[in-house]
Amino acid sequence: MIDLDKATAPPTAPTPPPLPETLGRVTPFRFDGNATEYFGIWIVNIMLTVVTLGLYSPWAKVRRLRYFYGHTSLAGERFDFTGIPTRILLGRLIAFAIYALVVGAAWINDSLGLLAPVLLLLAMPWLLRSTYRFNARNSKYRNSRFFFFGQNPEAYKVYLLWGVLTILSLGLLFPYFFWKHKQYQFNRLSMGQLNFTLHASAGDYYKAMLLPYALVSVLAIVGAVVTPVMFLSGLAALFAFPLVVAMLFKATWSHVTVGESPIQCDVNEWYYAWILISNWLAKAISVGLLTPWTAIRLHRYQVTSLSIFWQNDPDYVLTLVQQDPSAFAEELSDIMDIDVSL
């Protein structure tokens, strides 16, 4: 019987240590996907989803994520996404059943219907934490899994407590809340045995969110005084939100270290904002057909703006063995239309 010699114990004999050539060097992130290739994947995903009446969508999701992960590389090695579609499908079916129950309850009794959003809100921190866990453990670099070790009590403190305080502050605390959220996301994340750390301060986030709007206000006031500049202030108003998105990206990624190695981010906020705006225009004009092109364009710009200054040798990153957390929580937030991918 083959049973006896299956999965032999891992080797103890050390392989000759490779030269730590990456140590002390800056290596950029690279992306070698392209829009033409991704268009095929995208349209076949849609076609198979339609043909199977939606049952294919978990496979489509995994293929989409795998394409972006797998064509992103660092120091010549690719990332990968290994989520199992059948588990995502199961999660989706359970989520759909819960959703149907909630709608049914609302149909029978109005107060039950009012209770549902409250329950969902109370479940949000748990859902977010589960989503981070699922995404992290299914992300790999050099066969080394990412791991999210944030716990539920902290998730409730960050999202429920600070969320409520933010509402009570009429939004004044929002950048602070966002900072807490990013801290929870990064400071509880590791790749192999290397922990991520976010060094950004709350002030960085206040700056990222307020500066674009301050700029727009100034231009609007100037525009009100000098009429020809009216056009300029309109243009700036259009840029304000994408600019916030771009500045948040920069605020976060310029202040992250993996182990001892800092990540560097040389993104240009204005160009980033321009990509967001022109992507939206391209999608609108092409009735969605340029969606693959816009996705590749944004991802490539984000990824290639990043690099790592290696202070740890990635060759010695340990591979951690973990158990399979359920895909369910992630899918529940998926069907409820909550975007957690900031």
Binding site: I43, W280, V287, D315
Partner: protein, 348 residues
């Protein structure tokens, strides 16, 4: 029979301990596969392996117990790797790289989307509209009514004439519901009529003047009443939301604001079908009351003629044909109404 290492393929192998790939080979044996790295051999049963098929420029990958991993260096997944899902994924990979099949997928997707938007969604909207409460859109309609009031002026029609038209409506279309009618001076809307989903029908003075006679006016009223009875506003709202959701679901872009555009384009189609339906309703209603539909057809023909000459005159249609523009009176529609004529014209 044990296969010989003749079948062996070169691979990159991760041992699950360190983030370093080793050059290795993999070959089949009875009931499983063997990975050989230098002198070290690992054996795996078929049900212990999980294949991730190729994708884009990525070669097939095999994930193994204890975090071990095999990356193939070739496009083919050897037939002796027993994984149905793996081989299926390989086939999907082929489809994704074939220009012919990509084009076919594109045509199929556009076809299905068009079919759903053109036929599926209207059917669904029709079904749902009649299973929702009649006042679903009331609050929205009240807002629209408010805006309409602000954008139009007080009617210059005499109270006598207004009462006359209300009586016409009550006698031939719906008894005791004359209060549905709201008379306004159209101003920027000019000759126009609106059926609001809160059950109100707004008629502009300009339209009353343009209709010329009561029979034509009755036709217009019956047509607008048709929109109300068939719940066209609600159907249109459902279709609009439905198409957005459908596009979002298929392109995986829930937050996609661009989906509003196709909705607007498709809305034009719906309204054409709705006009035809409202015409049919008007024909049925008037004929049941033994009223001629010819004056309505003539009125539409007059509008069409007018719009044509105006467009020829200054390349820009006059506001007088506003009702015509929002109610495209194709010759087809006029013909259909004329053919339906069975009864003599209403005595003046």
């Amino acid at each position: 029979m044990n296969a010989t290492p003749r079948d062996a393929v070169s691979i990159r192998f991760y041992d699950g301990q360190r983030a370093v790939a080793h050059a290795a080979v993999m070959y089949p044996i009875d009931g499983g596969v063997v990975v050989q790295v230098h002198e070290q051999r690992y054996t795996f049963l078929h049900d212990q392996i999980k294949v991730l098929g190729g994708l884009g420029q990525l070669m097939p990958v095999i994930e193994l117990p204890q975090e071990m991993r095999v990356e193939l260096l070739q496009r083919q997944l050897p037939a002796w790797v027993q994984s149905n899902e793996g081989h299926l994924q390989q086939q999907v990979w082929q489809i994704e790289r074939s220009p012919t099949l990509i084009l076919l997928s594109l045509v199929m997707v556009i076809g299905v989307m068009f079919g759903l938007a053109r036929f599926g969604m209207p059917m669904f909207a029709h079904y749902l509209a009649f299973h929702l409460p009649a006042d679903t859109l009331s609050s929205v309609a009240n807002q629209t009514e408010q805006q309409l009031m602000e954008m139009t002026g007080n009617s210059q029609l005499s109270v006598t004439r207004q009462t006359q038209i209300r009586q016409l409506y009550e006698r031939y279309i719906e008894s005791n519901q004359g209060q549905r009618l709201i008379f306004r001076e159209g101003q920027m809307f000019n000759a126009n009529a609106f059926a609001l989903p809160n059950g109100k029908i707004v008629l502009t003075d300009e339209l009353v003047a343009l209709a010329g006679n009561d029979q034509a006016l009755l036709g217009v009223l019956a047509h607008e009443h048709g929109h109300l009875v068939e719940r066209h506003s609600l159907q249109q709202a459902i279709s609009g939301i439905g198409v957005s959701v459908m596009i979002a679901w298929m392109t995986g872009d829930i937050s996609d604001m661009a989906s509003g555009l196709p909705t607007a384009l498709l809305a034009m189609h719906y309204s054409r079908d709705f006009e035809r339906e409202a015409d049919e309703y008007a024909i049925k209603q008037l004929q049941a009351q033994r009223v001629s539909v010819l004056p309505l057809a003539e009125f539409l023909a007059r509008l069409e003629q007018r719009a044509k000459t105006e467009q020829a005159d200054d390349g820009w249609s006059d506001q007088a044909s506003a009702w015509f523009q929002s109610h495209p009176a194709t010759s087809e529609r006029i013909e259909r109404i004329r053919q339906a004529e069975q009864y003599p014209a209403l005595a003046p």
